[in-house]
């Protein structure tokens, strides 16, 4: 098992623990890519994006595991319906990640949030409301 996979499943567990209104646990899922395929919406998809590595000292490297969090619901191209709920879900998830620091993964020392679009235009055109950000989980590992 890899640290990256632990980060992804750890984020999945944290989001499930928020009990967001309208989200079943089965629709909060870790996937290879943020594609809506075979799952019901609203959903939260957590997928790996990148993992830059830098040296910090002779014995350790710091890896920033980029975990892409995408929240998807049906938008039907409405400019207003569900907008406030959507923003609230995103803020709850971001705040939980910032405060918990993914304590279940022992090598993680910090998490930062890299916001992507609040409402993604391409998804909106396809009748979805989708919101995304990257939770970057910094890990110190021997190497």
């Amino acid at each position: 098992m890899s640290v990256f996979h632990d980060c992804l499943t750890g984020i999945e567990t944290l989001i499930e623990g928020l009990s967001l209104t309208g989200f079943a646990d089965a629709n909060i899922i870790v996937q290879k890519l943020p594609w809506v395929r075979g799952i019901d919406i609203p959903c939260v998809i957590i997928s790996p994006i990148d993992d830059p590595v830098r040296r910090v000292n002779n014995q350790q490297n710091e890896i920033g595991y980029g975990c892409h969090v995408v929240i998807v619901t049906a938008g039907n191209q409405s400019q207003t319906a569900g907008f406030d709920d959507f923003s609230d879900w995103r803020e709850q998830i971001e705040e939980e990640l910032r405060s918990d620091k993914l304590s279940a993964v022992s090598s993680i020392i910090n998490i930062t949030i890299e916001p992507s679009g609040l409402i993604l235009s391409d998804a909106f055109r396809k009748q979805y409301d989708a919101s995304a950000f990257v939770a970057r989980c910094f890990s110190r590992e021997s190497g």
């Binding site: 990256f4 290879k32 395929r37 790996p48 990148d50 993992d51 830059p52 590595v53 980029g66």
Partner: protein
């Protein structure tokens, strides 16, 4: 008049009937000896990867190729080593600091199952294994050090082509 994509080489051999690149008149393609620094680095990285203890990675399934394409690697799993960036930084009158970039592509057939947890876990474990085994190496070619540039974890285009592929670039730093 030659088209925009033709390459015209004046005075060289004859046009190939397969592609619009001129042959040089040799009866058989000249195969260069693997003495280039890039090839030495690639061969040593191949040896390192084959020794990492991953069942799918053997000397038969780790291929040094011109392009990171899925031939002749079998879809059961393998690694392709292909050229990436190369940088030269002037250092002294006799030597440059040269960074030879080797793109490492680990791949396996996936059938576009985006939610398969076992396959994703395997891909991430492979990636961590490669990272831990290729960083800060001093026995690769004439390199004194290696750095990594981690690529995308799951390559979207390859996934559409029924492969799970993860990539990174090894920069082999040498003074030559």
């Amino acid at each position: 008049m030659a088209g925009a994509n033709d390459i015209i080489a004046y005075g060289f051999g004859s046009w190939s009937t397969v592609a619009k690149l001129p042959t040089l008149g040799f009866s058989a393609a000249a195969v260069p000896a693997a003495t280039s620094e890039w090839h030495q680095c690639a061969e040593d990285i191949k040896t390192l990867i084959a020794a990492m203890g991953v069942d799918e990675w053997t000397t038969d399934t780790i291929n040094i190729q011109k392009q990171p394409w899925d031939r002749p690697t079998q879809p059961t799993g393998g690694v392709i080593l292909s050229p990436a960036i190369e940088k030269r930084l002037p250092m002294t009158n006799k030597k440059d600091e040269t960074q030879f970039g080797i793109l490492v592509s680990a791949l396996i057939g996936s059938n576009q199952d985006v939610s398969d947890a076992t396959e994703l876990s395997q891909l991430l474990t492979w990636r961590q294994t490669l990272r831990d085994g290729l960083l800060k190496q001093t026995t690769v070619g004439n390199s004194y050090d290696t750095e990594l540039r981690m690529g995308r974890v799951v390559i979207d285009g390859a996934f559409r082509g029924m492969f799970d592929v993860t990539q990174l670039v090894v920069l082999c730093k040498a003074r030559i």
